[in-house]
């Protein structure tokens, strides 16, 4: 398992660094906006996770009363499938503890994304240097942020959303289809395959992401727009840093900067 160990090692270093960078950017760019949104959320009657407005209704009339009922009571019984024993369960205390858990989440998932990136890029010959890493990072950004973000824009607390599981399924399906499409465009030279790639990339958006019954929200439009920009930009930097560091570390690791030129074009 020599290869496995090496790949995990590279991913761990790259994910750690990129995760810390992302956590720092979030502390300045996105978290303050989330906190602002929570003020509107509190004013609107509390914080309700695990409570997507009504399980399967498509009529606004049913969704609206459900939303009101939830502001006074525990999550709707229909949602009891999720372990909603307490209202919301344990949560980190505001301030340092909350920040610390965000940092941990950033680092752990940074390593997770790095594992995916390194594994996939090794199939294509490996990321040879920081510059190739930047291109791989751009691809990762397109796959994990841009494509799912088109159908499901970054949301602030207190924003309406469709059923969580359905959105998560759409999110992963979009990621998979976009990754396959970009892979075909980058590594296959035949026109039919490129056309197939374009179809793969647009298919999730033709199907359409699950949307809430109503878009009514106490969150001001301007605040949300600011948040969308902040999320997109911070993720772009995260992916560029992640790809570049994988390139650098892998180059150091192998001793020679092996070239990717065969796999690209």
């Amino acid at each position: 398992m020599n290869l496995f160990r090496n790949v995990v090692f590279i991913a761990a270093i790259a994910g750690l660094v990129a995760g810390v960078v992302l956590a720092c950017m979030q502390a300045y760019a996105t978290v303050p906006l989330i906190l602002k949104a929570e003020v509107y959320e509190q004013a609107g009657g509390g914080h309700h996770h695990a409570a997507p407005a009504a399980t399967d209704t498509n009529a606004m009339s049913t969704a609206a009363p459900a939303g009101n009922a939830m502001s006074s009571a525990a999550p709707a019984p229909a949602e009891a499938a999720a372990p909603a024993v307490e209202d919301e369960g344990w949560a980190p205390a505001d301030g340092f503890e909350r920040f610390a858990f965000s940092v941990v989440a950033n680092i752990v998932t940074g390593i997770g994304f790095a594992l995916i990136l390194v594994a996939v890029s090794e199939f294509a010959g490996g990321i040879g240097n920081w510059r190739q890493g930047v291109f791989w990072g751009l691809a990762g950004f397109a796959v994990f942020t841009l494509a799912p973000g088109l159908g499901l824009p970054p949301e602030l607390p207190a924003m309406p959303a469709a059923d969580l599981t359905q959105r998560q399924i759409w999110w992963w399906a979009t990621v998979a289809a976009t990754a396959a499409g970009i892979g075909l465009i980058a590594f296959r030279k035949s026109l039919p395959l490129v056309i197939l790639a374009v179809l793969l990339i647009i298919a999730p958006h033709i199907v359409g992401a699950p949307q809430p019954d109503s878009f009514e929200t106490p969150i001001p439009e301007g605040l949300h727009h600011q948040f969308v920009v902040a999320v997109t930009v911070t993720n772009l930097v995260f992916w560029l840093v992640l790809g570049a560091i994988v390139g650098v570390v892998r180059g150091r690791f192998t001793g020679t900067a092996t070239s990717l030129r065969d796999s690209f074009a």
Partner: protein, 59 residues
């Protein structure tokens, strides 16, 4: 392929190489899935700001 297998995993057979890389990718998907997509309340709350900041489906 030869370039990469020589550089990262010396003398690894092609089949074992695919297996190992697939395993790494799965591990990554599992990690991201657990932290960012778990329905467990405590996990959700711990990573709440992170989920929002990554535009993961939340709430």
């Amino acid at each position: 392929m030869t370039t990469a297998s020589v550089s990262l995993g010396a003398s690894v057979s092609s089949q074992s190489r695919v297996m190992q890389l697939a395993l790494v990718a799965l591990l990554g998907i599992f990690v991201v899935g657990f932290v960012g997509f778990s329905h467990i309340d405590a996990v959700h709350n711990a990573a709440h700001d992170y989920r929002h900041s990554m535009a993961f489906p939340c709430h």
